[in-house]
Amino acid sequence: MVHESKNMRLIAQDRLLEHGGVGEGMALQKTRDGRRIMWMAHENAPKNYTAVDVTDPRAPKVILQTDLPHNNMRSNSLDVVGDVMAVAYQTRSHGMQPAGIELLDISEPERPRRISFFDRSGQFSRGVHCLWFVDGEYIHCASGAPDFTPTHPLDDQVYMIVDVRDPTRPEEVGRWWLPGTREGDDASPPPRLPKFGPRPGGIRAHNTNVYPERPDRAYVGYFDGGAVILDISDKVRPKPISIWNPAPPFHGLTHTVLPLLSRDLLLITEEAVEDHGADWPKLTWVVDARNERNLVPVSTCPLPPVEEFKIRGGRFGSHNFHENRPGETSFRSDTIVFGSYFNAGVRVFDLSDPLRPEERAFFIPEAPAGSRVNSAQINDVYVDENGLVYAVDRFTGGLYIIEADF
């Protein structure tokens, strides 16, 4: 199969030294010497993170690729502010190490230097799955903790705020978890969703987005717990404003809660995790947040027919979005949004009328060689300030650089 596209075209691909499986962490650094470096966290061991010089986007070049300390862990997520990079580390099971966040000085991208390590390992902790670091002061993340005992082993990652104003001494400031997911809570453990396939979902934090325009709010995807808006005006004691959960009857795994702040809208994704569309529908919801205490879904982004895509192999459905990351190297729009949809590729929607999202473009790479599934699995997407699109494959395809033309 060849690439499929609408209003998008591939200008380069880099298979990342044949380690082309990338997770959910992408950040574009502008170095002091004028280079543009795309940093990516890998989906799985043995690789940790890879840096690609994309100064000439038609000729990307790997300048660094690192290995994890062992194969029973993954990095998955990272973020960059200036010359500081934060990398998440999650172990395969509870009680292992290293589990936490590594802070690195990347002023010389080819030679990262550790600034500190924020250890979150513990008897019931796998460490950090996903992090958000955009202001240089606080990391917002989905993390376990040595003093957190979940009522269910899969509910082991809470929303956590870490103060890194002194990057040599990261300190936890506050945390929030869904009541009932911690041993000792007054609330009863929340009901589990019906199991789909071999992987039951957890009721735990995933994406934890906070924006400078609204520093008193955290927008948290809480997997089977739904989409959560938290008041973090007091970072020590985050308080829930509202929780919206389409599951049940939908199948959970709320992944990203992307606020389109100027328009009082939320874009909420559910991650597809089963092959062949077994957990379909995994949707991207457009939610009216004019009253943030009464979230109202108004539409979903249109996707191609499941009948056509479930037979292509691998996952099909929503995953993540370009998250309007603050910073000079990131495209920001509350109207045009870019999502990653596994075997349905990168898809772009126009939310001018949020009641009727329109597909503006898509790009589906051909199935990359060596993938365990017979399709591309676009895992994450980043759009730079010029509108250039960087998308990554979950298994072997590596980095795709795509030009949008609409």
Partner: protein, 268 residues
């Protein structure tokens, strides 16, 4: 805008979708016209040389002469204009709210100057009567800005802007930051507007205090304050009967320098 004839430009606004074929003139007088369109449309009289002002609008009026909704008349006008932005048009909504606040603040600040400027009318008018001399913002407006030197003569030649003002000579468009374009297309759009002679003001994140510098761009040449008009103040509320009277009276009794008129066709 759509050039109706050598003296008149039509500007569809308050909508994302419109069609030229839907613009119909239901009546035409020597200096007035009534449009029958399924979307709001402003008619601009190029002969007036004046800005399009709030009191050129045809805002809904109750048969008993009261505004059609709750609030002060100025709030009714503000809400009517803001109502042309869709429910999730946050950036344009914020610009308009700030704009109307700035209009109100200007009258409050200049009260002494206004009262000193009308010594012969003492007691007849209050400074607030000049609120409606402020320029009229048209949200979600569609302006003629062809992509090439050979226009299509169709809707393709039009560019949607968040808000636009007519200052008597040219359009001043507000980019409130709600564009649905990627950077390259946004640059092309900006170039189209520039070639069409349309001023574009980027307002995303601007402070309300910025209006002091902004108002003069919305006014006819040499005008310093929007309340300095060539006539006594008029209100923005009109009835059909007034429109008919104006058609006869326009030649001898110009209002704010002209009789630019628009009429909205509202859905039930």
């Amino acid at each position: 805008m759509y050039r109706f004839d050598q003296h008149c430009l039509l500007v569809p606004f308050g909508t994302d979708r419109w069609s030229m074929k839907d613009i119909l003139v239901s009546s035409l007088g020597p200096r007035s016209m009534t449009l029958a369109t399924p979307f709001p449309c402003a008619a601009i009289d190029l002969r007036s040389g004046d800005a399009l002002r709030l009191n050129n609008g045809a805002f809904a009026i109750h048969p008993a002469g009261k505004p059609a909704s709750e609030g002060s008349p100025f709030e009714v006008v503000r809400d009517a204009v803001c109502g042309h932005v869709d429910a999730w048009g946050g950036p344009a909504q914020r610009f308009l709210r700030d704009y109307f606040d700035a209009v109100s603040a200007t009258i409050g600040r200049d009260r002494a100057l206004i009262e000193a400027s009308m010594p012969t009318c003492a007691g007849l008018y209050s400074a607030e009567d000049w609120l409606y001399s402020a320029p009229l913002p048209l949200p979600r407006a569609h302006l003629n800005a062809p992509a090439s030197s050979r226009p299509h003569g169709t809707e393709e030649d039009y560019v949607r802007v968040d808000v636009v003002f007519w200052n008597g000579e040219r359009f001043v468009a507000i980019d409130a930051g709600s564009s649905s374009l990627l950077p390259r297309r946004a640059a092309e759009r900006a170039e189209r507007l520039r070639r069409a002679g349309i001023d574009v003001v980027s307002w995303a994140g601007a402070a309300p205090a910025g209006f002091d510098a902004f108002f003069p761009r919305l006014l006819p040449r040499r005008a310093r304050y929007f309340w300095q008009t060539r006539s006594l103040p008029t209100g923005p509320f009109r009835s059909d009967a007034l429109d008919l009277l104006d058609a006869f009276a326009a030649q001898s009794c110009p209002v704010d320098g002209g009789t630019t008129r628009r009429e909205e066709q509202r859905s039930p």
